[in-house]
């Protein structure tokens, strides 16, 4: 059974169904959108059950000729990492639809168009993680920009069109750098036994270290823009500030993961030597991102920008874990990607409810919410704790693994990165204190607490955060075999733990 194609087709069917529905019946449109995303989630879970976790080969493989004259195939397949990310995407989609039930109103276009865009985007989110043909990956990687662009520019607030354009220009620039590298890979494959875009075949190419370095940079720049790494991050706060909370969840939670996923899947696999060459530089950038994102988050007055900067810090951790080249670091990074999706979703969704109730996104406009809207306040508190990686939350496990994995090889980087945790406490606790506690700010007296729909939407997110915090084994069992395999392929073995000073 072609599971992955099925997953990609289901949201498309939903979007076609939406297209024929009358524009006026917004309620029906939303219900169909929700039903579609729930079906996709169900199908993904059904597929994941059949995943053999000890098998390090790609699974659910499909391959059909697409453009034979260029050796391009429609080729799909997942390993543990891709599976986990697809699972995350398809769980987040219904959450976003349900949580943002009313956020598509007030856009430039109809509610119907909003959900069509969301569903088309979901198809691409699945495809981008499942593609095993570099050309197919690139096509989806670039085509994905279009729905996001219209989601930000059409339904956001404030300087939405400027933010959308900034997002698009940054991404296109990165994409074109990657295209240049892809063309070079394609031409080299032609010279070494036939044109192909098959990832496994391309990873066997012989090339000089100079070429490898240049091509690596083409890919890496594209991914570093996606998963914003300092100094290529400046589009993210603007985009997150302007987009609707639901779009932000998909943007930061899923799309930006394509960047870190790509570093693992493409940079490390295709250019192992260049990856090692650039590791020192990338680790420094990652550490700068951690600290820089955290410090700027502390300084933000706008709730959405604050969350965006916390994400820059978190992406620094993920990159650090990837390039530490240890299996703990890698597992931590993979788990971090999954957890970050949910903790960011929680922050953005609860934050979005606060903002839409108050009509302002300035942190100082809130105050005393703990008394007026206790459930919402608790949810925001929990989301914040997850973001600062409190033990017992799932993000703690991943952050700990990343730091442990980094410390065994790069102790200095790990120690500096640890300061990011201290700063995280500040950037979360300050808004918690300002928004939830203290005297009630005038204008907040009549805010309403979460309704049933919102409670249902946030419940699974919180459940995942807490359950995986205490029991991360199910995910780690899926991720770990792949992690050990990748690290071994790169020619590294984990350094034996040493106790210093002896």
């Amino acid at each position: 059974m072609n599971w992955l194609t099925l997953l990609m087709v289901l949201p498309l069917i939903g979007s076609v169904a939406l297209a024929v529905l009358p524009k006026e019946n917004e309620k029906l449109v939303k219900q169909v959108a929700l039903a579609s995303t729930l079906v996709v989630m169900g199908a993904t879970i059904a597929m994941a059950v059949g995943f053999q976790r000890d098998n390090i080969e790609l699974q659910f493989v499909e391959k059909y000729a697409w453009i034979p004259s260029f050796g391009i195939n429609y080729a799909l397949g997942v390993d543990g990492l891709a599976l986990v990310l697809i699972l995350m995407s398809t769980i987040l989609a219904p959450v976003v639809v349900l949580a943002g039930w009313n956020e598509s109103q007030g856009g430039r276009w109809s509610v119907k168009t909003f959900y069509i865009l969301i569903l088309v985007l979901e198809t691409m989110m699945i495809g981008v993680f499942a593609a095993t043909d570099v050309f197919l990956f690139y096509v989806i990687f670039e085509a994905m920009l279009i729905p996001v662009y219209f989601l930000i520019g059409g339904y956001g607030s404030g300087e939405r069109s400027a933010a959308a354009v900034k997002f698009l220009i940054y991404s296109l620039f990165g994409g074109l750098m990657m295209l240049a590298s892809i063309i070079a890979l394609y031409v080299m494959s032609g010279a070494q036994g036939g044109h192909t875009f098959d990832l496994a075949a391309l990873s066997q190419l012989q090339m000089s270290s100079m070429t490898q370095n240049l091509l690596f940079l083409g890919f890496f720049i594209a991914f570093a823009i996606k998963a914003p790494l300092w100094p290529l991050h400046t589009w993210l706060p603007d985009a997150a500030e302007s987009a609707t909370p639901g779009t932000s969840v998909l943007l930061l939670g899923v799309l930006d993961k394509v960047g870190t996923f790509g570093m693992i899947r493409y940079c490390l696999t295709l250019f192992p030597d260049a990856s090692k060459t650039f590791t020192p530089v990338i680790l420094v950038l990652a550490v700068i991102s951690i600290i820089y994102g955290a410090i700027l988050a502390i300084g933000q007055r706008d709730l959405k920008r604050l969350i965006a900067f916390t994400s820059i810090s978190h992406f620094g951790f993920i990159t650090l874990g990837i390039f530490a080249m240890t299996s703990q670091g890698y597992s931590g990074a993979a788990l971090y990607m999954f957890n970050h999706g949910f903790s960011t979703a929680a922050l953005f969704l609860v934050g979005g409810w606060m903002i839409s109730r108050r009509g302002s996104s300035t942190i100082s406009d809130f105050g005393g919410l703990q008394r007026i809207t206790p459930v919402m306040a608790w949810m925001f508190f929990l989301a914040g704790m997850s973001s600062l990686a409190l033990p017992g939350m799932s993000s703690f496990v991943s952050e700990f693994l990343v730091l442990v994995g980094t410390f065994t090889r790069y102790p200095v980087h790990a120690v500096i990165a640890t300061f990011g945790i201290v700063l995280a406490a500040l950037y979360i606790l300050i808004p918690v204190q300002k928004a939830l506690h203290g005297p009630t700010t005038p204008g907040n007296e009549n805010l309403s607490d979460l309704n049933l729909r919102e409670k249902i939407a946030i419940a699974p997110v919180m459940a995942i955060i807490i359950v995986l915090g205490f029991y991360p084994a199910p995910l780690l069992n899926v991720i770990n075999p792949a992690a050990t395999h990748v690290i071994a392929q790169l020619g590294f073995s984990d350094p034996a733990p040493t106790s210093g000073g002896k």
Binding site: G153, L168, I169, L176, A180
Partner: protein, 505 residues
């Protein structure tokens, strides 16, 4: 002395002969059919002629011949592909000609004169644009299949002269239109002179005017290289002028802007196919062995053309001028395919020409729809909020822009990918890098138009989108369908191109 009648293979020449016959009938129609029927008769005649010609191209698609007209033309796979592309693009764009609101009622009358007013009042619309178009198309069909320099030159003039006239036919802003026509004519005449000059040197170099003869001298390498270099340089100027490459591009923004929009669309698309078709044949066959002499120069021109077109387009405030500069940038990308000088480059160029031509016709079809009470509105600032008022038209235009920008799932991406990979394969890495860079720059201004249409609030100034007529709608639907189909599943067309793309020498 006895006179031998030339031996002609009429079957192989029939696509062109049909067009010429149709054009001549068109002239008679213009003279004898009543003004009430003229327009519809001309349109059906023209479309019928084009379809018949295309059917004939299809019939001969497996033939190859060096002797169809006493060695003056070559019929081979690329010739068939290019001719078919020209015809398909012409058919799509001819539908736009049906709206007489674009064309002056009486081209011979002076702007603002009594006669002009009279012909407008009486509705005496002349329709000479149809036979002119057919003459131009027959020149375009001959251009890429010519196999000696005289035929090449005749074809060049055959396609150019009607175009000079057609550029001056605009109903509104007639003076600007006539200025464009004059400019096009004068600069075209200059470039023709250079072209002839180059021909003379090539004759001096090889004592032959046939492609085969010159090629033989180039391969032999015994001639005087100075003559060859001068010959190639001047011949190239003539060709580069036609495709609008920098620094021979100065005519294109004014002509694009001044000409009636349907003509601009037709000209931008079909002339490019013809001119690049001829260029590909000349560089791939005649000058292939003198690669050392022209690739460096052409690479520099390609790089400058891409970067210049993309950069200057950013500053444009008029949609037709913007598309003109974008076409300059695209000429640069296409030059990368010429430089590649390998089979992949030939295939990529033919694919690119077809895909770009179709999208260009579609884009100009959208331009014809945006109007106010005094005609077309080409000022981009007045396109604000178009997406709100006419979402379908705006979305279609956005589709063409994304294709120009080379976004995946549009034909433009496959074209760009194939042409850049062919150029990279031949070692022209600098050209590819410049191409990628200018694609990034170009994306900026395409996106700006999308922003204007969708994300900017409309101004109340009477700009509106005219409801497309059935024919314009056909143009739009066909061109956007081809643009997307070639982006999603280009394999069938690529296979056809790959099977046919071999020049015979």
């Amino acid at each position: 002395m006895t006179f031998t009648a030339p031996v002609l293979n009429y079957t192989l020449l029939s696509p062109i002969l049909i067009l010429l016959g149709g054009a001549l009938i068109g002239v008679l129609v213009e003279a004898f059919v009543s003004k009430a029927l003229r327009s519809i008769v001309q349109l059906s005649l023209t479309v019928g002629t084009l379809v018949l010609s295309l059917a004939q191209v299809w019939r001969i698609h497996n033939e190859t011949s060096m002797s169809a007209a006493m060695g003056s033309v070559i019929i081979d796979g690329p010739a068939i592909l290019l001719q078919a592309s020209i015809l398909i693009i012409s058919i799509i764009s001819i539908f736009l000609f049906a709206d007489t609101d674009h064309f002056t009622a009486l081209a011979a009358a002076l702007p603002g004169s009594e006669e002009e007013r009279h012909s407008l009042e009486t509705g005496n619309q002349v329709t000479e644009v149809y036979p002119l178009t057919l003459f131009a198309i027959s020149g375009m069909m001959l251009f890429p299949i010519a196999s000696d320099l005289i035929t090449l030159f005749v074809a060049l003039e055959m396609l150019s002269l009607p175009l000079y006239l057609m550029a001056g036919l605009s109903r509104r802003r007639r003076l600007a239109s006539q200025e464009a026509a004059l400019k096009y004519f004068l600069l075209g005449a200059f470039s023709s002179a250079f072209f002839l000059f180059g021909m003379a040197y090539l004759y001096g170099y090889s004592a032959s005017i046939t492609y085969a003869g010159i090629r033989e001298s180039v391969v032999g390498g015994s001639g005087n290289d100075v003559l060859l270099l001068i010959g190639i340089a001047f011949l190239s100027i003539g060709l580069l002028f036609k495709v609008g490459a920098v620094p021979f591009h100065a005519w294109s923004p004014d002509v694009y802007q001044g000409a009636p929009t349907p003509i601009t669309g037709f000209m931008a698309a079909a002339t490019k196919v013809a001119a690049f078709g001829a260029m590909l044949r000349i560089y791939y066959t005649v000058f292939a062995n003198a690669q050392w002499s022209w690739t460096p120069l052409l690479s520099v021109i390609a790089i400058i053309t891409m970067l210049f077109g993309s950069l200057v387009a950013i500053a444009q405030r008029d949609v037709k001028r913007m598309l003109a500069y974008s076409s300059i940038a695209h000429a640069g990308f296409l030059l990368a395919g010429v430089i590649a000088l390998n089979k992949a480059g030939l295939e990529a160029s033919i694919f690119y020409l077809f895909a770009y031509g179709v999208a260009t016709v579609g884009a100009f079809a959208v331009v014809t729809l945006v109007r106010d009470s005094s005609g077309e509105v080409t000022d981009l600032n007045r396109w604000k909020g178009l997406g709100k008022r006419s979402p379908w038209v705006a979305a279609t235009f956005a589709g063409f822009l994304l294709a120009f920008a080379g976004i995946p799932l549009t034909s433009g991406f496959i074209g760009k990918f194939s042409i850049f990979s062919a150029a990279y394969e031949s070692g022209a890495k600098g050209v590819v890098f410049a191409g990628v860079l200018s694609s990034a720059i170009a994306a900026f201004f395409y996106i700006r138009v999308i922003v204007l249409m969708f994300f900017t609030d409309a101004t109340q100034d009477g700009t509106s989108v005219q409801l497309p007529s059935a024919l314009t709608r056909a143009t739009l639907v066909i061109s956007i369908a081809i643009t997307i189909a070639l982006g999603v599943y280009p394999a069938p067309l690529l296979n056809v191109i790959s099977n046919l793309s071999t020049f015979i020498r």
